[in-house]
Symmetry: C2
Subunit: 188 residues, 2 copies
């Protein structure tokens, strides 16, 4: 429910079209807030309805017309309100933990395989984010504060992924030494 606010965050950088925003999302926001291209357009419509943005249509010959979105004062106020509002954590929906919780039903072999795949995924995400971190750390020309916060954000992701990776490596070691029978009914 905060896609509009993410978009407004980007619109404080500059005015953009839905198309631009989609590309920007993929480059900078996607690693913590994934979204579908179609949702960006739908969000922009809602935001226009609510007076958070207004539209300037630019006629083009070669390509489809561009609808450039500008943040309004109302939108900016809403963004600041949202930013300063005490954040209430979302309800957790961690599928991976859920699987783990009930994996006593699996033979050890399968469970270890699951961990290995997950570990590889985490390592992949981590190296991608570390690349991004190297890039962001080079943003010395950017305004002080914005750069610091971008570094912080990426750093957060890197830290969490490292913690996860380390934890999974340790668990894999434990699992490889575990007895083999899956429980069919652990509470009987």
């Amino acid at each position: 429910m905060s896609l509009p606010h993410m978009i407004m965050g980007l619109l404080t950088w500059n005015s953009f079209t839905g198309y631009d925003l989609n590309k920007l999302f993929q480059q900078t926001v996607q690693y913590f807030w994934w979204t579908e291209q179609s949702q960006i357009y739908r969000a922009l419509h809602r935001m226009e309805r609510d007076g958070w943005v207004n539209v300037e249509t630019i006629i083009q010959q070669d390509n489809p017309n561009r609808k450039v979105y500008h943040l309004t004062e109302t939108g900016r106020a809403e963004l600041l309100r949202w930013l300063a509002e005490p954040h209430h954590e979302d309800h957790p929906h961690e599928v991976w933990v859920g699987k783990l919780f009930f994996s006593h039903l699996l033979p050890n072999e399968d469970l270890i395989h699951l961990f290995e795949i997950r570990l590889a995924q985490t390592e992949g995400l981590l190296s991608g984010l570390e690349e991004r971190q190297a890039f962001v750390n080079g943003l010395t020309h950017e305004s002080e504060r914005s750069a610091i916060l971008q570094k912080m954000t990426v750093g957060y992701g890197v830290e969490m992924l490292r913690a996860e990776r380390d934890w999974m490596r340790r668990q894999l070691d434990i699992l490889r030494g575990m007895p083999d029978q899956p429980d069919s009914n652990p509470h009987s």
Copy 2:
């Protein structure tokens, strides 16, 4: 999209009513998979339609009738399929990181306040989970494998929350030494 599988996981422990499942969820699953009471009933209806569970109605005098749900062989097979299936990570939607990313618009004071609140929340979650960990670690009478995996799951949560808490404490120290002006337009 995995609520039915979480429910089936619980139904491998025993047969339960929607009412029982809701209470069990709050005790054991809620910290990694939050759900509404009404969704449990709706999920059970879907699962019955799909043949994953079947129902036994128990007539009661004093209280409303109980509808006890049993896991079918089809349901059990689906659960095992889901558990063994390579887990594809969900699309990220981390509101907190998003806020942080765009918080250069806030004065330092507000930003620090946000961090303090978030830190307090994390510490609250952590101490709650540590209590649960103490309880789960006492489950020696439980079947070996199930107990190990429950401990692992809770341990995962505790580890991640600790990493988050430590990271936030470090950032708070940095923030308290930061220059004070918010950017109105960092890319101008």
